[in-house]
Symmetry: C2
């Protein structure tokens, strides 16, 4: 008694998701109407409402799928290993490889016309879950800890966004090592 989803349902959802991804290349999600979404993939507007309550609900369903995968991979990253060894572990490389494989959807959600709420959600997860064990390693007081975390998480996300926007030219392993360097050793502008 698992999954028997009507083919029509699958098709409708697939068409709508694809249409949204396409439209989000051009404009922010807040400027996309249910009408043009349905026109774009020739789905009846009434049918849309049989599946989603509004555009942002459709977007959320896409985000949910991606977030669950990201969550798993992010949790695998050993910050302790990163710090003690100074080298990018396999988990972080895997993450960047995943981002590359899902370039389309990742760029859509994380970059320019992306969803600020989703970005904030990722940011919050990284801050609380991934980097939480760092706190034990900190020699700073509590106040500075908070700012340090904010700086690192924002910087890391900025690096990822830059990588995605730049067409992913640098290989995953290279980016992973760079990020590890920045976090553990600073940016080393002066040598």
């Amino acid at each position: 008694m698992e999954k028997k989803e009507d083919r029509r349902v699958t098709r409708t959802r697939r068409m709508l998701r694809q249409a949204l991804v396409n439209l989000m290349r051009e404009k922010p999600v807040s400027a996309i109407t249910v009408r043009e979404l349905c026109d774009a993939c020739e789905i009846n507007r009434g049918t849309f409402y049989a599946h989603y309550s509004d555009v942002s609900s459709l977007l959320t369903s896409i985000e949910e799928e991606l977030f669950e995968k990201l969550q798993t991979m992010l949790a695998e990253i050993s910050t302790r290993e990163m710090l003690t060894q100074g080298r990018a572990g396999p988990a972080i490389v895997t993450l960047f490889e995943f981002l590359k494989e899902n370039e389309d959807i990742c760029r859509m959600l994380l970059c320019d016309n992306g969803d600020p709420a989703f970005i904030e959600r990722v940011r919050a997860f990284v801050r609380t879950e991934v980097l939480s064990d760092w706190r034990q390693l900190f020699s700073d007081d509590g106040e500075r800890q908070e700012y340090t975390l904010a700086f690192l998480v924002a910087g890391s996300l900025g690096l990822v966004q830059r990588w995605l926007d730049g067409g992913l030219e640098t290989p995953p392993a290279g980016i992973a090592q760079m990020l590890t360097d920045f976090i553990t050793k600073g940016v080393a502008v002066l040598r």
Copy 2:
């Protein structure tokens, strides 16, 4: 032949700006209608259109004023001084003091329900103008430079956002020094 602005015009603009600031505490600008904006400050809807073409145009006029000030202050920051002395110069402290004085509007624009486009604009300015002279100091190759810049700019902005969201408890000079540390020496998790 300088400035003789009708008091009524001044009042109308002031009311609308204030109403937008208030509404943006609750929801993103994309969810704010001209109607509720006018209702909130008891301005006729027709009057709104005599001044602005839409909500985002009103927002832009607010942003423009802030951006010009930020631009000036950001340009004063000597990155070279920061790097060679390792201490926060007066310009960067002044910037944080300004942010504190304009807490309301800065939080509205830069934080949670802020305007992504405006944030991106600030980010771009810092990247191209403020940190441009850093390139000469870099000993890294061009590719790494780009990522370094992205990391630093995003991290710095994240730090500022965290400071604003946290109620600006840390004094401007303290935050300025912290940012300088992070940029020039890394976050120094391990000592």
